[in-house]
Symmetry: C2
Subunit: 299 residues, 2 copies
């Protein structure tokens, strides 16, 4: 079979956005032959200068790769990349591994994995946390759903982009883990925002409160990092509100599917929506605190 | 003035409950002369065996102490201990320092501090975090509101009970900080509960999800400690639901006073109330997860 051919793993990369560009560069840096495809031509040209080859469409990427990374924004985008007329599946053969690294609806992944299986290809869901900095520094955390065997074959490629690769379970399990991650991060940002806004409104030094809370059970990465951003009014992203708002919709949809109520997260999802509506989509998600203040000042 | 008399600081302790007993013992252990008073006589007798003296009422404690620690459950209890017919104020003199170490309504503290000032006494609010284990091991975090001068005089006594003493601000500021602490802890427990319940309902291994989340921005003390309790179904307290439910009412009242909305914490307060109503008051607060499961099993 083609996938067991000797020589280095040939990698394809589709979607050269803010996250995709540095991830693709790290794959080149690790010495893999790389073919790229993206809607905007600027990033494609830069990768070609750096040593990659450009493909005209996903079908061509599939035909010349062993492992294809897909890093596109929405669930509908992944569906188009895989299942469109010149999509990955049109060029796929047995043994191809497709890795979806964006944050998408777990149930859509299950359907796409079945379509891949029909042509003998494997689909892994492997969403990441760590943001743009983690993408640049190849220190992303990667949560993987799909078969253990496919993960082992794709692992060298994933290891070029991340420092922590965790196999969560079968198809969609990586997306579920990422949804859980975004749920906890969003709710904790809201909790820290409410605590610091309450301290300030009660006439108490919010910085001292944060300091006191870091010593006990209220301690969290969010209290450290996002709590500091709130005190310093620095809402440069970091994690953008627009992304977290999209993730919030996936979280609520996943919960609806699973039959779980999320009474604590629902108002957090509402808050992201309201901040979007006020034009805060490009701010860091710690800007949730501005909704709790008398006259929300947006940058 | 009496307070500047030479010799060791004479300490009074009122309220020998689950937290008060080990705290009082640590004061004795540190070598302070101690007079105690409590509603139940059993704990008083044990402290007397350990070297304390028993007083008949708070007025008598005040008359023979330089610093009096008050560790009683509700705001109404503190008011009774200070302002009742044989309360602390009836026996107080200039220079006395009263330290309220329970978790109470910040605005009530301001009123009590004024009553203390009328007789030349100082009131510090100094609520703690760290629970029964912290009380036993003298590792409590102590959040202090009130005058810097009074804190400096009381500091050696507080240092016998806690390892971290943080001056937050004026009267009531310690209580505000504790309210913020309980807000963040409660909301984070709810967030972790929702994430683990979602993972499980979606057919994913919740333990692996917790493991993955500990490596990123979702990391917190609550995810470590309470997340593990949820996975192991071990709801032995720890922090009791009944206590957190009482604290939730203080948080909401403090927010109402300060004019801050807490959209994220409100459903968490509701959840504590519902768990109480189902007879879960004596469970650890991580038992919030049982409300998210199809058929809540209570121990």
């Amino acid at each position: 079979m083609a996938a067991s051919a000797p020589g280095p793993v040939r990698v394809g990369f589709i979607g050269l956005g803010i996250m995709g560009r540095p991830m693709a560069r790290n794959i080149l840096r690790a010495g893999f032959p790389l073919v790229v495809q993206s809607r905007s031509l600027g990033p494609v040209k830069k990768l070609v200068v750096a040593g990659a080859r450009a493909a005209g469409d996903p079908a061509e990427v599939a035909a010349t790769s062993d492992v294809v990374i897909v890093m596109v924004p929405d669930t509908a985008d992944v569906e188009a990349v895989l299942d469109g007329p010149r999509g990955l599946l049109a060029g796929a053969r047995a043994g191809l591994i497709v890795v979806d690294m964006g944050t998408h609806d777990p149930s859509a992944l299950v359907a796409l994995a079945e379509r891949c299986a029909e042509v003998g290809a494997d689909l892994l869901d492997a969403p990441v946390s760590g943001g743009e900095v983690g993408a640049r520094e190849a220190t992303l955390s990667i949560m993987v759903g799909g078969s253990e065997a496919a993960l082992e074959r794709a692992r060298p490629v994933l290891a070029a982009m991340g420092s922590r690769i965790i196999h969560i379970g079968g198809t969609g399990a990586g997306m579920v883990a990422k949804a859980c991650n975004q749920l906890v991060v969003g709710s904790t940002i809201q909790a820290v925002a409410e605590a610091l806004a309450l301290a300030r409104a009660a006439g108490v030094d919010a910085a001292r409160v944060r300091d006191a809370l870091l010593g006990g059970f209220a301690a969290s990465r969010v209290l450290e990092v996002h709590g500091l951003r709130m005190l310093e009014r620095d809402f440069t992203p970091g994690g953008r509100v627009a992304i977290h708002e999209k993730d919030a919709r996936i979280i609520l949809e996943t919960a609806r599917h699973a039959g779980v109520d999320l009474p604590g997260f629902r108002p957090v999802a509402d808050a992201f929506r309201r901040l979007m509506d006020r034009g805060g989509g490009d701010l860091d998600h710690s800007a949730l605190i501005t909704l709790l203040e008398p006259d929300p000042p947006l940058d």
